[in-house]
Amino acid sequence: MERPVLTSKKLNAYFGSVHAVKNVNIEISANNILAIMGPSGCGKTTFLRCINRLHELTPGATSNGKILLHDKNIYDMHPVFARLKIGMVFQRPNPFPNLNIFDNVIAGYKLNGLKLNKVNKERIVEDSLTKAALWKEVKDSLHKKGTFLSGGQQQRLCIARAIAMEPEVLLLDEPTSALDPVSTASIEELLHELKKNLTIIVVTHNMQQAARISDRTAFFYMGALIEYDNTKNIFTSPKDTRTQNYITGRFS
């Protein structure tokens, strides 16, 4: 196996005394899609939020262990730097309501005070929206507020906003759970395109989705990583009985 892009080593996360992520070890290689699945409350979101250091912003939340981006521990970096390298898309679309579509895409530059000239701005906006499969739909209404878009379009806008920063890793937390089937399909297709330049971790509640889009799948249960393998193996020959029970629908 080639050198992994992201490695978590003995990662533990807590909310006060609640142990939400338990001793997770995982390696993710470049240009792969990792799907994380598991029942509600098993720590998927918490694990994801540890990776770009959002977890520590919750009052009372702590974590220990290591997360290596290439060979650098992100807990030794400034959190702002880690978040620039590791983008995130949330469960509910959250475009900035005070900005128009154009400014939403370059929000990471604009709000960080990074100056871009007009040509670069337009190039980044067009590139990112094209990659997010949204350019054709919005290219004539870039000055409109992002919140006027439909839910699926808003979510793709949020993806465009994240990839505009050219992160190395993109985290998506149930990105389609609030969307209709058509939008869901277009986002799944999009992830396939995006993995050419990115490493993607996507949390999903939906097993079919995990099977369709991911190269590797991790199964979480009660905060622990139970099984981690090629997606095909997980769905055809799971080793752990809990994984078996989950994918045969005996609990959700």
Partner: protein, 281 residues
């Protein structure tokens, strides 16, 4: 129709009529006040009234230019002092919900809101007017600024609390540092609420008389020096309406009308800005 059902329909109509009548009774005093002041004041208002200063007793005519300019200067200075402090305080309270400093600050804001304006005036008299050796418009502005603070703090805090935390997280996830998330995301999204709080606080203190009695004091002449006593609309109404001279009573009515309309206008502008600048989440 069933008699009991009919009885219930009649009862419901009666209650409806009662509610409408009560609602009307509530607005009645306000309407009467506005009509009365309008009737007494409107005959006074003309160009000279707005551009001249009061004439000495016995001479007819004269205006309230000194009070208009004074009110403007005093209220503006008060806003310059209290708006930044109030907004920062509101941000602090909305961002820090459960620490002791926040709890203690919240209680102080509540208490400050309940302090009678005359008490604020006395305190400023002993803290600022006396040490500086004389009445000044500036001390009046400080007294008014103290009265504006709790309103601005509260409205800012309430506005910011309604902004979904998902927006803040969206900002953090893009690698935007905390202070920029507050300045560039949270504040712009809450702009309309903050603005309306500021305008309401101005409307609220524009007519305050008590805190100005022993601070700005009043001045029969035109003055723009904030280190000297200055006239203001409420002071002029107070002083001239209680004087024994008919001419001065007329000036007071005119000034009262202008004050009333300024406050009404501020309230209407507040409503409009809230609509225009509102950010939909």
């Amino acid at each position: 129709m069933d008699v009991r059902l009919k009885y219930r329909v009649v009862k419901s109509k009666l209650v409806q009529v009662l509610i409408i009548m009560l609602a009307f009774t509530i607005t009645l005093p306000l309407l009467l006040i506005i009509i009365y002041i309008f009737k007494e004041g409107i005959t006074e208002i003309n160009w000279a009234f707005l551009t001249q200063i009061p004439k000495p007793v016995g001479e007819a005519g004269g205006g309230i230019a000194n009070a208009l300019a004074g009110s403007l200067i005093i209220v503006f200075t008060a806003s310059v002092i209290s708006v930044p402090i109030g907004i920062m305080g509101g941000i602090y309270f909305s961002e820090n919900k459960n620490c002791w400093l926040s709890n203690w600050g919240q209680i102080s804001v509540d208490v400050l809101q309940g302090v009678p304006s005359i008490v604020v005036g006395i305190v400023i008299y002993f803290w600022i007017v006396k040490p500086l050796g004389g009445f000044s418009a500036f001390s009046g502005s400080i007294a008014l600024a103290i009265m504006m603070l709790p309103i601005i703090i509260r409205s800012t805090e309430e506005t910011l609390k309604l902004i979904p935390s998902s927006l803040k997280e969206a900002g953090f996830a893009l690698g935007i540092p905390y202070h920029r998330v507050i300045l560039k995301i949270i504040l712009p999204c809450g702009l309309s609420g903050i603005l309306s709080g500021v305008l309401l606080s101005i409307a609220r203190i524009a007519g305050e008389t008590a805190p100005l009695l022993f601070t700005a004091f009043g001045n029969p002449y035109f003055s723009t020096d904030i280190s000297k006593p200055m006239q203001s609309l409420p002071l002029l109404v107070f002083n001239y309406a209680t004087s024994p001279y008919e001419d001065w009573h007329k000036l007071a009515w005119g000034a009262a009308l202008i004050l009333l309309f300024t406050v009404l206008l501020l309230n209407i502008i507040t409503k409009l800005t809230t609509k225009k600048w509102n950010v939909q989440f």
